[in-house]
Amino acid sequence: MADPLDSGDDIFDRLKKGVDPKLQEEKTRLANERELAQVEKAQRRLGELIQDNSTLPTTISSIRILNATNTRKGFLDRIFNPIISANQDRPYTLAEAIREVSIGADKLHKLDVFHEPISLFIDRPSHTDPSMTPTDIDIYLSVVEKSRFKFKTGTDIGNAEGSAYVHGLARNIFGGAESLNVNASFGTRTRSAYQASFETPILSNPDLRWEFGGLASSTQKPWSSHEEVLKGGWTKLRWMALGGGMHELGYNGVWRQITGLASNASPTVRRDAGDSVKSSLTHTWVKDRRDNPQLPTRGYLNKSTLELAGWGPLQGDVAFGKAEVEAQGAIPVPIPGVQGESGVSLTTGLRAGLLYPLPLGTEAESKPSRINDRFQLGGPTDVRGFRLSGLGPRDGSDSLGGDVYAAGSANLLFPIPRVGKDKPFRFQLFANGGRLLALKKSEIEGTDGEKVKQTLSPTIAELGNGLPSMAAGFGLVYAHPVARFELNFSLPLVLRRGEDGRKGLQFGIGINML
């Protein structure tokens, strides 16, 4: 067979006589490398060309967005008008002009109404127009709009739940990258859920968005023998901070109903049954610097959530301040004798939360927490080796949740032999544990604030009393781009009486695992 490839033929010939597939593989690899090199070279050449002319004075006379038929002109103007030279007090250099335009193109990307890639053309205007200056260039951005309506139905199975869903999405409704999401799902655990939300960028800025929506759902909570029916709405403002973090400030108003109690529901759950309205302000901050959110090998994630409910003018039936923090870090572990990345990595995670009871509105007494406001802990997505909500205070067979918690996990991930480190499969060894505690009942008399403080410090001290409830084990991890799947074998090491540890296999699916 004649080899179309160049110079190093004789080596290949020799190899060809040996093992054929190996040669083929090598050949493709070389071809790929060469192609890559060529692209790089072309890029470099272009770069040099621009570099050489980078100081060339340039004025952008116009920017045209092609094929954006459904997008409002005014909306695009807000992105590109400031770039046009007529609105600048001095001419650009070529490099600056290109940078500015690509920032604009990048914003278009983030709006999620156009297909990638967005192609950019530069043209010199014809000199027939007397108003032209010699430094003028025209910019053309050619876009393809994504379909305006998307409709999807399907079924999901996961986390011991099967469900069917209908999802509708309307994009770019008013030509300003607004989107309307409508969701309905019916499942074995989430009996029914309807949700609609409308989101829009503010001032054409993809990094500043406003959202509002409403939901109505009914969810089975078998770990505490009830069904929770929710009806409510929210509004949120979301923006990117300079450091790369994402902020979200929102208001939630939800009418919750604890109903459909199981026949063996505990007195605590019966006590909390019925209606309550939560009116709360929330703030979330996330900074995600992990290389892969489902299977990180390096980087970190920091997250904090604050919620203030029922306090002062917020009203509602429940009042508390709630804070939750999460930190996750991953580092690659070098193996002596292995060149480059070994594929072995260590991830550690830490979560903690506190619910601080507050007086409602202008009342003097603070409201003790209810079951639907308290934290739950345990299960395949946080403290593995425990049943779903298996940690914390218990009444009968019900997990009651707690007001204070802390949980930590350490996972050592190894690539699987013969599968390799580039595939999203890992073998893991893990140990994790946590405590989930309810605030102690106050025995002292005094003002309300003192009482709460008096109950808080012994509860927090209790976190460190004895070993945390722990489990350890090993298992397989598959990181799908959407979620992480784990199949683990684990044994509980330390428990509190009543906590529901699990000996044996446990399967977990999660988006954000500890």
Partner: protein, 404 residues
């Protein structure tokens, strides 16, 4: 022994069988608690089901097609390595597990004082249990908490201190039986009734006299039950002679007229239902509007269930007839059927007359009350029960109500 471990042993099997196992545990669990509850005065019987539990589980939870090798099982038994004591319960958890608790519609303050409920269905059983000398405390609750979807229900005292032992609730339909069984148990063991000793003073007497009369009383109660088991329409048709009035008919007519008067008469809805039933549920205006609407719709469907149209006049007329018949039946006796202590029938009549006559309930539309006030002996009956059996607590609800 810490039994959840025994059950976790089975988890070595696959995930798929997990649910099945859990169901089995649930059954096992409830069966045991039902056992406990039936024999709650006999301490020996407590131990039996508990001891047998781990054994049954070890046998049952290994599926046929998969048996854990002994060595592995022994290794697993070592885990968890350490078990600490229980986590503390949250602040809102009810603590009075050693008391019988009756969950009723009442205010928080009313619940503490044991004041009469403002809901006839709840008040009937509350009064009945007081008449029978049962010691209990009341808890303010709502229909969502009830196993039947309607208050009241009873949570019997937990015989152990262990909060992990579940106690099954007794719905209102089974309270009478529960009370009877409790009495039988108490008499069998020959112990003086705990309830009698601990009961508030005014009930001690009652409890003693109840015991003396218990045999004849029970046969009487049985007779009512027989009436109740008759289909409604036949009771209606048989509704002539005063002696054959079963409480079913009282309840139906009284309930109909009260349903109408409370829920479908806007002034009463605003002055009674809103402050007592709707407002305590939530402070949110929108949720209150939605709840009010739901309540009214439910009352309407309830009324329409029994007749195709809601005939206001007929409803009140029926009620008046019922009061008349009851008044005739009561005659000059203090309690119905010439008894010295009130029984279920008295509880049932009292539940309705009290709600109508209670001065603290702000009836704006007073037709029911005016109708009832014509029958002096029924008013006396209500008064003597409030004063004799609820004592000082009678106004507890109203005090807090007025404060609010």
């Amino acid at each position: 022994m810490f039994w959840p471990d025994q059950k976790s042993l089975s988890d070595l099997g696959l995930v798929g069988i997990d649910k099945e196992l859990e169901e089995y545990h649930d059954q096992n669990n409830s069966a045991t608690t039902a056992d406990d509850e039936g024999l709650c005065d006999n301490p020996q019987s407590q131990e039996r089901p508990k001891q047998s539990r781990p054994k049954t589980q070890a046998r049952e939870t290994s599926p046929q097609w998969f048996t854990t090798p002994q060595s592995i099982r022994r290794l697993f038994d070592k885990f968890p390595l350490r078990i600490y004591s229980l986590n503390e319960l949250p602040q809102r958890s009810p603590r009075n597990r050693e008391n019988n608790t009756l969950w009723i519609f009442t205010t928080n303050e009313g619940a503490q004082l044991g004041a009469p409920s403002f809901n006839p269905g709840c008040l009937k059983w509350q009064a009945y249990m007081i008449f029978k000398g049962i010691d209990f405390v009341t808890i303010s609750s709502n229909n969502h908490a009830s196993p039947t979807g309607a208050l009241p229900f009873l949570l019997p005292a937990s015989s152990t201190k262990n909060p992990l032992e579940a106690v099954l609730p007794i719905p209102s339909t089974r309270i009478e039986r529960w009370v009877r069984e409790k009495k039988v148990n108490t008499e069998k063991t020959g112990r003086p009734s705990d309830e009698g000793l601990e009961a508030r003073n005014q009930h001690v007497e009652a409890s003693v006299s109840t015991k003396q009369k218990s045999i004849s009383k029970e046969s009487l109660d049985m007779r009512y039950e027989a009436y109740m088991s008759l289909p409604n329409y036949r009771i209606r048709n048989a509704y002539v002679g005063p002696i054959s009035i079963p409480h079913e008919i009282v309840e139906i007519t009284a309930m109909r007229s009260q349903l109408y008067s409370l829920y479908l008469s806007p002034p009463n809805f605003a002055s009674i239902v809103l402050p007592l039933y709707v407002n305590p549920s939530t402070s949110n205006t929108l949720a209150r509007v939605a709840l009010s609407h739901q309540l009214r719709a439910a009352a309407e469907t309830e009324l329409l269930k029994q007749s195709p149209i809601i005939d206001v006049e007929a409803t009140y007329r029926d009620c008046d007839k019922a009061f008349e018949a009851l008044s005739e039946l009561l005659g000059d006796d203090e309690f119905f059927f010439g008894e010295e202590v009130p029984g279920l029938f008295d509880a049932c009549v009292f539940a309705y007359t009290h709600v109508v006559l209670d001065e603290d309930l702000d009836w704006k539309h007073t037709r029911l009350r005016e109708g009832l006030e014509q029958y002096g002996n029924l008013v006396e009956h209500q008064k003597s029960i409030v004063e004799g059996w609820f004592g000082d607590n009678a106004s507890g609800r109203s005090r807090s109500h007025k404060k609010a």
